[in-house]
Amino acid sequence: MSLDFGLIIEQMPDILSGLWVTLWIWVVASILGAALGFLVAAARRYGPAPLDWLLKLYVEILRGNPFLIQLFLLYFGGPFIGLRLEPIPAGLIGLTIYASAYFSEIFRAGFQAVPRGHVEAAQCVGLSRSQILRRILLPEMTMLVLPQCVNMAIILIKETAILSIITVPEMTMVIGAIGSQQYAFVDAMFLLAIFYWVLVEICDWLGRRAEAKLSKFRFAVT
């Protein structure tokens, strides 16, 4: 088994386009998923109790199922309830919803980790609820949950591989197809492993750097 670089270079445009699809779907779904997750966590914390139960069910259903199954049901089952999505929007929406469940749990723990006194101090100087959420809770929590968020982003980049089942031409799909066409299966898998590994390491490194940068904002007293 040896990597045939000639073949790879020949297919480079395809590979790059697959890489690009993987990257942008990952980034957009992570950001949207985190935002939606934040809303879910906030709604569960501040909304009425029935909303909390409903959202808990939402979160637990999404977390209790493989992404593969959810994506399949969304893409192939959606049309039966009038939700006709093209592959890329379906993949993006599926991944975002899936991510939102996990992010909401991260943020929920984050809310709890911000000392109550910090919120009370803000109440005492007259900040409104939304100002407290925006100016105090959100930034403080972000620092606290950053490591978990990076971890989640890493999990998500690997989940993007599953989008191939709904024909999204992302990296696994493209490189896998090249592997099949050229009968270079193992080579293709190797290439994929390296691509993902590098992406994950970069993400991890960025996360660690951000954490180090933010460390001075950490609590002096706990």
Binding site: P115, E120, C124, V125, R129, R218
Partner: protein, 282 residues
């Protein structure tokens, strides 16, 4: 409230209190229960304006709870609290029915109260100056520059202008508490509440905070201080309130409260707090 003032001859000892001068805080029949436990059992307390009132009492007696009710961080389950005559949180109709006031009203009355916590509660993602200016900018809608000038003035009032750009994690406990005081001062509160402001500090750092508080007391600010620093209470407090098991047992000048003959509960309490063995060294 003026009814209680003469009997306790509290703060100013002034023979003729101005009719216009409502007490800074008037607490009437305040009760608070958490679930089944009754933590405050009908407290009546008048905090005179322009003076320092110290709230002392054993652990668990309800001091923090009372202070938090006055800051409206907890909602009293019974009774009313007024700030300079304005009702806080609830309006009481003639028939005793309480109705909740609007969030705006609550925020506006509360903004006349400043609070300093035992745990400082500085926001870790803002510098010292950022902590002090935050409410000026977001609540008072001041220009950032103007807010910062004002913030610096407050920081120098607590002797920390040279630490303005430091983050809380880069400050000692005493410095953090002083920033917290500056933050509370920045909004020009009519009354400043302190909940054991030195309890989380090393003995060495306690002094700097108590000194800032002494200065404030001297400047005619209204202070209500929950403290275990009996020495501070005895020397700086112009009015002392002693709480025990959710009841206000004693309230008066230090001389009235601490003087002999002492209330047996107070005597017992002082016993615990004052290191009698060490007294032989004084």
């Amino acid at each position: 409230m003026s009814s209680t003032a003469p009997t306790r001859t509290p703060h100013a000892n002034s023979p003729e209190p101005h009719a216009a001068t409502a007490p800074a805080v008037a607490v009437k029949g305040v009760g608070k229960t958490f679930g089944a436990t009754e933590v405050l059992k009908g407290i009546d307390l008048t905090v005179p304006a322009g003076a320092t009132t110290c709230l002392i009492g054993p652990s668990g007696s309800g001091k923090s709870t009372l202070l938090r009710c006055i800051a409206f961080l907890e909602e009293a389950t019974k009774g009313t609290i007024t700030i300079k005559g304005d009702p806080l949180g609830f309006a009481e109709a003639a028939n005793g029915q309480r109705t909740r006031l609007s969030p705006q009203n609550i925020r506006s009355v509360r903004s006349r109260i400043g609070m300093v916590f035992q745990q400082f509660n500085l926001w870790p993602h803002m510098t010292a100056l950022g902590n002090v200016c935050e409410a000026l900018v977001t609540v008072r809608k001041m220009k950032r520059k103007e807010a910062e000038e004002r913030g610096m003035a407050q920081l120098s009032r607590v002797g920390l202008e040279h630490r303005a750009t430091h983050y809380p994690s880069e400050l000692s406990g005493g410095q953090q508490q002083r920033v917290a005081i500056a933050r509370a001062l920045a909004l020009d509160p009519e009354i400043l509440l302190f909940d054991e402001p030195t309890a989380s500090l090393d003995p060495e750092l306690t002094g700097e905070v108590l000194n800032v508080m002494r200065d404030l007391a001297g400047s005619g600010m209204t202070l209500l201080v929950v403290t275990h620093e009996i020495g501070f209470a005895a020397t700086v407090g112009e009015s002392i309130a002693f709480l025990d098991h959710g009841r206000l047992l004693l309230n008066g000048t230090p001389r009235e409260v601490f003087g002999e003959p002492r209330h047996p509960r107070l005597a017992q309490f002082l016993e615990t707090y004052l290191d009698r063995g060490a007294a032989t060294l004084l």
